[in-house]
Amino acid sequence: MRTVAVLRAALDAREVSARALAEDVYTRASRHAGLNAFVTLSTERAFADAAAADARLARGEASALTGIPFAQKDLFCTAGIRTTCGSRMLERFVPPYDATVQAHLGRAGAVLVGKSNLDEFAMGSSNENSYFGPVRNPWDTTRVPGGSSGGSAALVAAGVVPFATGSDTGGSVRQPAAFCGITGLKPTYGRVSRYGMVAFASSLDQAGVLARTAEDCAHVLAAVAGADARDATCVERGVDDYPAALSRGVAGLRVGVVRELHGGGVDPRVAAATQVALRALESLGAVLVDVSLPSLAHAIAAYYVIAPAEASANLARYDGVRYGYRCESPRDLEDLYSRTRAEGFGAEVKRRILVGTHVLCSGYYDAYYRRAQQVRRLVANEFAAAFLGVDVLAGPTAPTVAFALGENADPLAMYAADVNTVAVNLAGLPAISLPAGFVEGLPVGLQLIAPAFDESTLLAAGHALQAATDHHRHRPDGCDA
C-alpha cells in the first residue's frame, strides 16, 4: 500500500526520489482526470519542492514528510498558486501568502502537487456545489465522493496522492473519508491554525487530514498542529507526540456506542458494518458501553442556524472591490456589490447567506441565533458528561454509503444527512473516520470522537483497528495500490 510510511521508507532507502514521486503523481492524476478532483495542478511548485526535498534527503536532514507529495484543499491559501474555494468569486484569486498549514507542510519538506476540488466555500456534503464541476467517487463514478473535501478524498482513495488536507466545519473531512474508504481526522477546534484557510464558519472550521491510515494522519497532524500567533483561536497548548502514541493500543479503552448516531435515518447495513468494526476493537481489549446523547436530535437545526449566520458575516467581504470577481459595468456602488455577489456565488452559498442574514435579523436573533447557541451549549455539556464515563464515543460517520450524483437534489435532504457529524463541530471536539467495511461494494466509515485535544487516543485506536483489519487496504477498481 502506497502510504506516507511506505514512501518515507523508499525515499530514505534512496529507492525513489522526491522528483520521481512527483512525476508519478501527475501520471496518476492524468489517468484519473475523469474524477475532476483537482482544480489546479501546481507542477512548477511541485518540482521546485521536490528538488529541495531531494537536496535535503541527500544532506541526511529529512523529516517524516520530506519528499512526500500531497494535495491541498483549494481553500488553503498558497502563495503564487490560485486558491479558488470552488467559487467563481475566487476563480482568479492568487494569494500573496501561504496559509499556516501550507507553511508548516512546506517546512516539513512535503511536496505540493495541486489544489483539490471542493464544494463552493466548503458548503456542501457531496462536492456537487463546486463552480468547477462535481468530483466523482473512485469506487463508483456515478456517485458522489462526499464533501466538502471531496477532491482530497477522491485523490487519496484513487492512490493519486498518499495524503491531502481538508477542512471540517460540519463533517467535511470525515464524511468524504467515509464515502471514499479512507481515514479522515478532524482535530480539536483550535489545534491547527486557521490562518490562510478561507473562512466559512469561524467558530466551527478546523483544518484536517485525509490519508490511507491513522499512522499517516499522525505524521501529518504532527507537522501542522500547534499555536499560531496569526490565529488567536489557535490554542497555546503543548502538542502530543502523535506518532509515538500510535502503539498505545486499545486495551481497556472505554468506547461509548452512541444510540442517537444509530437513529432512524441510518441504513441498517451501515450500522451493521460499524458494529463489526466495534467488535474488532472489543476483541483487541476495548470495552463497549451504550451511551445516549439525546441533544444530538437538535444538532442539525442548531448547526444550520450557526454555520450560515457565521457564513453570512464572513462572506460579506466578497464585494468586488478588493479582490476576486467583479461584475461588468456596474451602475453604481450598490449595483457593484449586489451584482458581483449574485454572479460570483452559486446557489448553495446564496441560500446560506440568506438564511444567515435572516437568523441574525433583530426580530429573529433571539428565536434562532441565540437559541441555537443555547442548544450548542446543551450539546457540548452532554458530550462532556459522557466523557466522564468513556474515553471515546462511536457510531457510523454517515447514515448511508455514497449516494448517486443528483440523488440528494433537495437541500434539506442534504442537510439531514449531516446528522452524525455536525454535533462534533458544535462542541469543538476531535473525531476520526475509519474504514469499517463495505455495503454493496461501497465503503462505510466508523466515527470515533474524543474529548478536546485527545487526538492521540483516536489515532491509537485507528492504528490498532487497522493492524487487525484490512478494510483500509481495499482499492477501487482501476486504482493502483
Partner: protein, 95 residues
C-alpha cells in the same frame, strides 16, 4: 413560517444579493423550509443555558500593538479588480 416577498426583498438587500426571478422563487421556497427545520430548536431543553459562541469558552488573547507584517500594499492592490494611485477604484459615489 412564511417568508413574504417583502421579507425576501429585505434579506436580499441586507445581504447585497440581486436574485433573478426564477432563482428568487426557488430560494424563497427553500428558505421557508429551512426555517421550518429550525422550529425544532424550541423543543430542546436548553432554557436558561448560557449561549455558547466558541467551543472552548476561551478569552481571545491580545498581542502587542505593532506592525508584524506590513508593507504589503502593492501586493494587495495588485489583487484588486481595479486600482489607481494606491487606492481601490469603485464607481463614482459622489456626484
Amino acid at each position: 413560517m412564511a417568508l413574504d416577498p417583502a421579507s425576501l426583498d429585505r434579506l436580499c438587500e441586507l445581504a447585497r444579493l440581486t436574485l433573478a426571478p426564477a432563482e428568487r422563487e426557488r430560494l424563497g421556497d427553500e428558505l421557508e423550509r429551512v426555517l421550518e427545520l429550525f422550529a425544532a430548536l424550541k423543543a430542546a431543553p436548553a432554557d436558561g443555558l448560557a449561549p455558547l459562541s466558541h467551543p472552548h469558552d476561551v478569552t481571545l488573547r491580545l498581542r502587542e500593538d505593532r506592525v508584524s507584517d506590513g508593507d504589503s500594499a502593492d501586493a494587495l492592490l495588485a489583487l484588486a479588480p481595479e486600482a489607481q494611485g494606491g487606492y481601490f477604484l469603485v464607481p463614482k459615489v459622489l456626484e
